[in-house]
Symmetry: C2
DNA sequence: CGATCCGTTCAGTTGCAACTGAACAAACTT
DNA sequence: AAGTTTGTTCAGTTGCAACTGAACGGATCG
């Protein structure tokens, strides 16, 4: 990759990446960028600053934070003296993300189960739909594993990392 | 979901559901429906029939099957006597789906690792980005678990009773 | 009391991926 | 040979979600 640019550039790029990642999870890009900013800064960030820093309209910020609040990823803080709303990462945001995925997965799984049960017993599609059902069941089980894993830091499966983190000694 | 009447209706609804599910995995809806049809019918299906059965243009079928082939989910079969191309589910399609997800996840993980490494050592964002990184690491590990699970033969030959599905319990 | 700031809502725009129709080349038929 | 059938490609359309600007109500300040 390119040589380390300025600190602000790194920050901006990280925020942009998070926006793209979040799109894969069904969030609008701006909401993902809000998330990225809150992760990076770690601070309590005022509403207006989100609009300015991310260069988007306040309307977009409004809907984005609403989505993020609904998902339990972001928490709104209203300070008594201040007029603005402030936002920060909710506690355990990653566990919450997994729970959302879990929920959606279970919904799919249940629908397939319904289909299977409404089939005539002798339908030869039975076995194939069962395999499809098992697929979602496996994913569900795996997410449960990840949920327990997320809450205990520093525990990583060796060999899963695409790149070694030089700054950290989480291996061995 | 209302109790499905005819067998064909059940089939059509399943195909439609699969189309919607697949959208969540980043596939176009038509590609997902092709997948659903192949899962349900289990047969080798000719190109033209896909267009007719799914009520879409041949152009859409062409691009859809290309995407599905690229992902390794569908296999093209050209029969010697016949002019048409035929399609069927690839072996181990569910394992393949998981591998795609795994790949994307690792890519995200690697990008975050790059960001962390380019940060100054004393940046206070370090810890928070590490937590974000760990999040993806956990997911990666979970997918690995699911991958071994999916490939277990699990003997679900054609006569499996749907009763085993009824009242399935959420784990955890 | 205005005046100003703040966040939400909503009608309109915009950008983009999905989808189509038509033109095309290859392979086969007659 | 011309004529079919088949799958791909590509320019154009379409549908939809993301995003914006403006209007609004509520709160605070002067």
């Amino acid at each position: 990759m390119a040589d380390a640019s300025s600190h602000d550039t790194i920050r901006a790029e990280f925020i942009e990446k998070t926006g793209l990642f979040s799109q894969a999870e069904g969030l609008p890009r701006i909401a993902g960028r809000v998330l990225g900013l809150l992760i990076y800064d770690g601070d309590v960030v005022p509403f207006g600053e989100l609009a300015v820093k991310l260069q988007v309209s306040r309307a977009s910020i409004s809907t984005s934070v609403r989505l993020l609040e609904e998902r339990g990823l972001v928490k709104r803080v209203n300070k008594p003296g201040e007029r603005q709303s402030f936002f920060q990462l909710a506690p355990d945001p990653y566990g919450t993300m997994l729970k959302v995925v879990q929920q959606r997965n279970r919904s799919f799984q249940a629908e397939i189960a319904e289909t299977i049960e409404s089939l005539p017993k002798d339908a030869d599609a039975q076995g194939r739909l069962k395999a499809y059902y098992d697929f979602y069941a496996s994913i569900g089980a795996a997410i449960s594993v990840a949920l327990t894993e997320v809450n205990k830091p520093e525990v990583l499966e060796a060999g899963q990392q695409p790149a070694t983190l030089k700054g950290f000694k989480d291996d061995e």
